[in-house]
């Protein structure tokens, strides 16, 4: 109402007339340029200031949009797409300060309209929607350096490390934290599910954000009988580790190979109408759409070619080889011969049929593991085995089997492992469990409400 005393006689552009009738009225008033009529308009609330409190969904969306926009602007002005999050202890201090300041604002200005807005449903809806929008960009635009030029220009090919992401996350966190405070004080037991959910989510988001600067993921390429005590991160930076590992054995098991029909021109596997169970087993007969019948006579897991036939031998460069009889319905002929997938020193072996080639697909790894000697300071060296899905702990680090020389397979001369240090993991897991407990509780309660009408 304070705007009544304004001397200049025009309506501020951000005032929105409520309806077409009032629009017309305002137009007439503007024409007349009378001070009294202006007062009449304001007194009768024919126009409402867009930013007049209480803020609703529209205002919430405008505010929410400002955050990623500011982030984008910052990215473009500063000219780098990596948001910098400080390391421990500064990230923790910032996080705690963030929560404490929101707590203080909440307790001192609880009645203020702004605080009430920041913990309101419209604000929540806007923050979730904006965050979904940012994630959609991330899910639709390829997130790697070879993305489209337009995306690279706007730095949309690495949204995770952009201001857009960080700022929309901050808005989400602000709303989330305010909301949590409204339910903590005054505390009621029936808010338990709500609190577990929301605090759990806050802990997960906070923990994961702090993690992004304190997490170490170091690749270690380990050759036989060479102690390695350093690892390289994704940016190629080397770090020293408090322990050393020495590769002693590498072991790999393969699934039995599969027969495939290969298109001679494109050199790709042919898709048959019904995909047969083409895994090799001695004595088995495999049919490709009733046109080609293959009977397996001999199957060597480790073999070498010698003058067009294969002989069993287990040494570097061996390949799986299968002796087959192929019957083609069309030509009513039977062909005999060997097929193999080849290896790093042997060519693949195929049988020429009327339309296609019959070959053997490269074997799929079933399980691989590396045996290491692990040296820790002031301790006897111990033997550990790393398998995918079974990491091993050592001095606050976790070691993971990642890869090997896939070209050489069983005869790989090195294995690739990853050393991971994740200091915020316990916190994030606490958040996970709180979220799960909260979701369970809330679902339980909501189901009960509806049953009671």
């Amino acid at each position: 109402m304070q705007n009544i005393t304004r001397k200049r006689l025009f309506l501020p552009s951000h005032w929105r007339p409520k309806s077409y009738k009032s629009k017309l009225l305002i137009f007439l008033i503007k024409l007349s340029n009378s001070k009294y009529l202006y007062t009449f308009v304001l007194m009768n609330k024919l126009v409402r200031n867009f930013w007049q409190i209480p803020w609703k969904l529209k205002q919430a969306f405008v505010i929410a949009l400002c955050f990623p926009m500011a982030g984008l602007l910052l990215d473009l002005v500063i000219g780098r797409n990596s948001v910098w999050i400080p390391q421990f202890p500064y990230n923790l201090i910032i996080f705690l300060l963030f929560i404490a300041s929101i707590g203080l604002i909440f307790f001192f200005y609880k009645k203020s309209q702004l605080v009430q807005f920041l913990s309101s449903i419209p604000a929540t809806i806007s923050s979730i929607t904006i965050f979904i929008g940012v994630l959609l960009l991330m899910g639709l635009i390829p997130q790697h350096p070879e993305s489209s030029p337009f995306a690279i220009q706007l730095r949309l090919n690495d949204i995770l490390h952009s201001g857009i992401f960080l700022f929309s996350l901050i808005y989400l966190l602000i709303i989330l934290t305010f909301t949590i405070f409204t339910r903590i004080y005054p505390f009621r037991w029936r808010n338990m599910g709500f609190l577990l959910n929301h605090i759990g989510l806050l802990i997960i988001l906070g923990g994961a954000t702090m993690d992004s600067s304190d997490l170490y993921r170091l690749k270690m390429v380990c050759g036989y009988n060479t102690p390695i005590w350093y690892g390289t991160n994704q940016d190629g930076k080397q770090y020293k580790l408090p322990f050393a590992v020495e590769l002693k054995k590498f072991h790999i098991d393969y699934y039995d190979p599969e027969l495939v029909l290969i298109d001679r021109e494109s050199n790709e596997a042919v898709k048959t109408k019904v995909k047969p169970d083409a895994y090799i087993k001695k004595g088995k007969t495999i049919k490709f759409d009733d046109k080609i019948k293959v009977t397996i006579d001999t199957f060597y897991r480790h073999a070498f070619e010698s003058k067009k036939i294969f002989l069993p031998a287990e040494r570097p460069g061996n390949t799986q080889a299968v002796k087959v009889r192929v019957y083609e319905t069309e030509s009513k002929k039977t062909v005999k011969g060997w097929v193999s997938a080849g290896s790093f020193i042997q060519y693949p072996h195929r049988i020429k049929l009327k339309h296609y080639d019959l070959g053997l697909a490269p074997p799929k790894p079933k399980k691989y593991s590396s045996e290491f000697k692990l040296y820790e300071p002031d301790q006897e060296p111990r033997t550990i085995t790393l398998v995918v899905n079974k990491p091993v702990r050592s001095m606050g680090w976790k070691l993971y089997q990642v890869s090997y020389d896939t070209r050489k397979g069983k005869w790989s001369e090195y294995t690739v492992i990853e050393a991971v240090k994740d200091p915020w993991l316990p916190l994030v897991y606490i958040g996970f469990f709180m979220l799960l407990a909260g979701v369970f509780l809330l679902t339980w309660q909501s189901a009960n409400w509806n049953r009671n009408g």
Binding site: L57, I125, Q143, H144, R217, D277, V388, N389, F440, S446
Partner: protein, 267 residues
């Protein structure tokens, strides 16, 4: 009788799936005719047990939980759809929900008959984990819940057009979404814990993970929008349908997305 699942002749699958499709259709027809509420349920129970038995045998034959390929997850999806559909029918007597869930389950079973190549026995090392079964089953169960909620919202939009909308249906949608959302949350967190074991980090914004998070947030948006004072029922239903589109994107759309060409989740 010996039940062999030789996928090269597929006859067993045709017999099993065909009989389930038939039983389901009979149950749907009986529910539609409304003679006796119990009779369709008896048929459905037989179909569910029969499909469950088939999945069990398949599990035994391939040597791991048949959950890896889309074809295998379709079997589970059909199983849970029949299950959830009959529970809803038993509790609230929604006959057309039963019909729809039966038709959807049948559709998935028939789809597998047409494209049977999705069965495979080789399981890559990253998938060999005790997290595999809980992660996928929880998700598939959630998907069946949420797809039925989506059916309700499509029906709601139709009713709005015909001016017959009654917002009482939102109560059952809420129930379905709450349960579905709880299961999606469990699925996503089980997935994160598994990723920690398999790949070294619980969240790396792999495209599949990004879309899973989008899906989760869409349902979160629905739950919050429901608490909004000036909520508009039409927008509520539209949010739910959009959320389901995101879910479909996450489930199999991701595999065809250029953004996911480098994903570690594409098998």
């Amino acid at each position: 009788m010996q039940i062999g699942i030789e996928m090269d002749n597929l006859i067993t699958y045709y017999i099993v799936a065909g009989s389930i499709v038939l039983i389901g259709l009979i149950a749907a027809l009986l529910a539609f005719l409304e003679k006796d509420k119990r009779v369709p349920l008896v048929f459905l129970t037989i179909a569910i047990l029969w499909l469950g038995f088939y999945i069990g045998v398949l599990w035994y034959k391939v040597g791991h939980a048949p959950l890896r390929t889309l074809g295998e997850t379709r079997l589970w999806y059909a199983f849970f759809l029949l299950f959830v559909g009959s529970i809803l029918y038993l509790r609230w007597e929604y006959k057309w929900i039963l019909i729809f869930s039966v038709l959807m389950a049948d559709l998935f079973l028939v789809f597998n008959m047409i494209y049977p190549e999705n069965f495979d026995t080789a399981l890559m090392p990253a998938l060999q984990s005790y997290w595999f079964v809980p992660h996928v089953i929880v998700y598939i169960f959630a998907y069946s819940m949420l797809s039925i909620a989506t059916l309700f919202s499509l029906k709601g939009l139709y009713q709005m057009r015909k001016k017959r909308w009654n917002n009482q249906s939102l109560n059952i949608i809420d129930n379905l979404v709450y349960i579905g959302f709880a299961f999606v949350t469990f699925g996503i967190i089980f997935g994160a814990m598994w990723a920690k074991e398999a790949w070294g980090h619980y969240w790396s914004f792999d495209p599949k993970e990004t879309w899973a998070l989008i899906t989760w947030l869409m349902y979160l948006l629905y739950l919050h929008y429901r608490k909004f004072k000036n909520q508009n029922d039409r927008i509520t239903l539209i949010i739910l349908i959009l959320a389901f589109l995101m879910l479909l994107m996450c489930w199999f759309g991701v595999n065809y997305l250029p953004a996911a060409a480098k994903s570690i989740h594409v098998y």
